[in-house]
Amino acid sequence: MMGKSVDSRESPYKFNLRETRRHVEEKDKSPTSKLMTVEEAVRRFVANGLHVALGGCLYSRTPTAVIHEIIRQKLLNLTISRSLTGMEADLLLGASSLKRVVTSWWSVGYAWGISKMMRKFVEGNQVAFDEWSHLSLGLRYRAAAMGISFLPTVSMLGSDLARVNEVKEMTCPYTDEKLLLIPALYPDVGVIHAQRADKFGNVSIDGYEFMDQDIARASTHVIVTTEEIVDTEIFRKHPDRTSIPFFCVDAVVKLPFGSYPSECWNLYEADFDHFSEFSRRVSESGIDGVRGYLSEYVLGCQSFENFLHKIGSTRLERQRRSMQDVIS
């Protein structure tokens, strides 16, 4: 479209819009129960080499249980994308599951400095770090959520980010101003942790939604882990509170504290002590520190419930209370 003003270099962004739409057309959109275990959800919808978009942001509503299950199932060559990427990427690196990270920022968090794992793997060219501005990544998901191939913006104009990502510019046919054309991103799987869902996959997210609604529409398949399963009547009574309708969702997994050690808005605060413990292990022993963490907390636990049991109810209750202390 508007070919006269777009430069003609070969683009790395090859969309087959018919193909991406076909996946959605062929989805079973009937209201049937999609309840399953996290083991089954990952086995059915995640495979080696796929692109997995992670909902939440940094240490908020991270789909931790699915990350753990991906590691337990020893999946390989994954690409992950996320608005801000945190400890989950360090875990996946430690498990040799990653080939590419598409994100705007990558570190466990401000308090813990630059990720040593990220530095080791990216500086050693063992994993690709595709850096986008935060809005640009959001527009990539949104363009896909809209079923189109790009969205125009002023972000990243005049920057090296646009250059290294080979993003094309155009002159607006109406105003003659320059715009950058952010290519869509169609993930194979979107993974979202929410406060509540019903068995059909109606999902209600409390607090900040981050990029989760766009991820749910953009992805071929969607796995939702949820703090609680509620009756569909709850959604019928408050349909304005439905963040994601059932026909987007392929798997619903009930997992209270499924985001721990990340926070889940209004329910529990992020466990900074746990992040500090992880960061200390990485500082002291590098990748062996991550492997030690994995064998103790992920591979050494048969399920996410076992992991939470290891953390202990006292600690989890403390996180519930500290959320209430901040929110009130």
Partner: protein, 260 residues
């Protein structure tokens, strides 16, 4: 660093000088660390109606002194907010023109206010890979007035960036506008040595004010490029007792204000 009356760290000086630039009744997009502290300091002193915006999609929170968030996407950052929206929509409010100030840090900054937060060395073979843009590029592209607050070091104020993560005035003159960035742009650079603006036509970084006890020579020695000096360089007033008292209530353990 010390003055005759009060002791304060370089990071505290930077936070106070940044806060003083923030007018009441405006909106400000802030990142984690010093920007957040400076915005809250302004709110608690001279600008009580300053509206803080976080990239997590958080509008007008009331941050609690001594309980600073460690991310712009978490409950402490969202305390008593007036509104939430998606991350993408938060940045689109900015692209629409709703954000008056953007507050940024930088690993490297050049004479036109372009900044690097991506890599030291070559992008494809970096010496140090940094966490990346986050929302910095978007703020630099679309906030109405961009303020950059950094420690003044020669290795930070460089002739040539290793990577232009976030655009300032690009190559000076009207090159920012020619790049398509027809709104906003760098407004001030605040350091522990002074306050800097940008020449109206060349868009070159220019020394406008200097902190007490600092000489222009010191500024030149710590800058990796030739720095023009405004015709009249003012001296800034040192942080007051009240400013430092509030600042130390905000960040008592110096988690956010680590430097100096």
């Amino acid at each position: 660093m010390s003055s005759a009356e009060l002791d304060y760290t370089k990071a505290e000086l930077l936070a106070v000088m940044t806060a003083r630039l923030l007018e009441d009744g405006k909106t400000i997009f802030v990142g984690i660390g010093l920007p957040m502290v400076a915005a809250l300091l302004a709110q608690l002193t001279h600008s009580p109606r300053l509206c803080i915006i976080f990239e997590g999609g958080i509008i007008a929170p009331e941050l609690k002194r001594g309980k600073m968030p460690l991310s712009t996407n978490e409950i402490r950052a969202a305390r008593r907010a007036m509104a939430f929206c998606s991350i993408t929509d938060m940045f689109l409010y900015q692209q629409r023109g709703f954000i008056d100030y953007g507050l940024l840090g930088a690993a490297q900054i050049d004479k036109y206010g372009n900044i690097n937060t991506s890599v030291i060395g070559d992008y494809t073979k970096p010496k140090v890979r940094l966490p990346g843009s986050g929302g910095a590029n978007d703020i630099a592209s679309a906030a109405t007035r961009v303020i950059i607050s950094v420690m003044h070091e020669k290795r930070r104020f460089v002739e040539r960036l290793d990577f232009r993560t976030s655009p300032g005035f690009i190559e000076g003159g009207d090159s920012r506008i020619r790049s398509g960035l027809i709104f906003g742009g760098p407004y001030k650079v605040v350091t522990d040595l002074g306050i800097f603006g940008f020449n109206k036509t060349s868009k070159h970084l220019t020394l406008e004010a200097i902190h007490k006890g600092i000489s222009p020579k010191q500024v030149a020695e710590n800058t990796g490029f030739k720095l023009p000096i405004a015709e009249e360089v003012e001296e800034t007033k040192p942080p007051t007792q009240e400013e430092l008292r509030v600042l130390r209530e905000i960040d008592p353990d110096k988690v956010m204000l680590r430097g100096g």
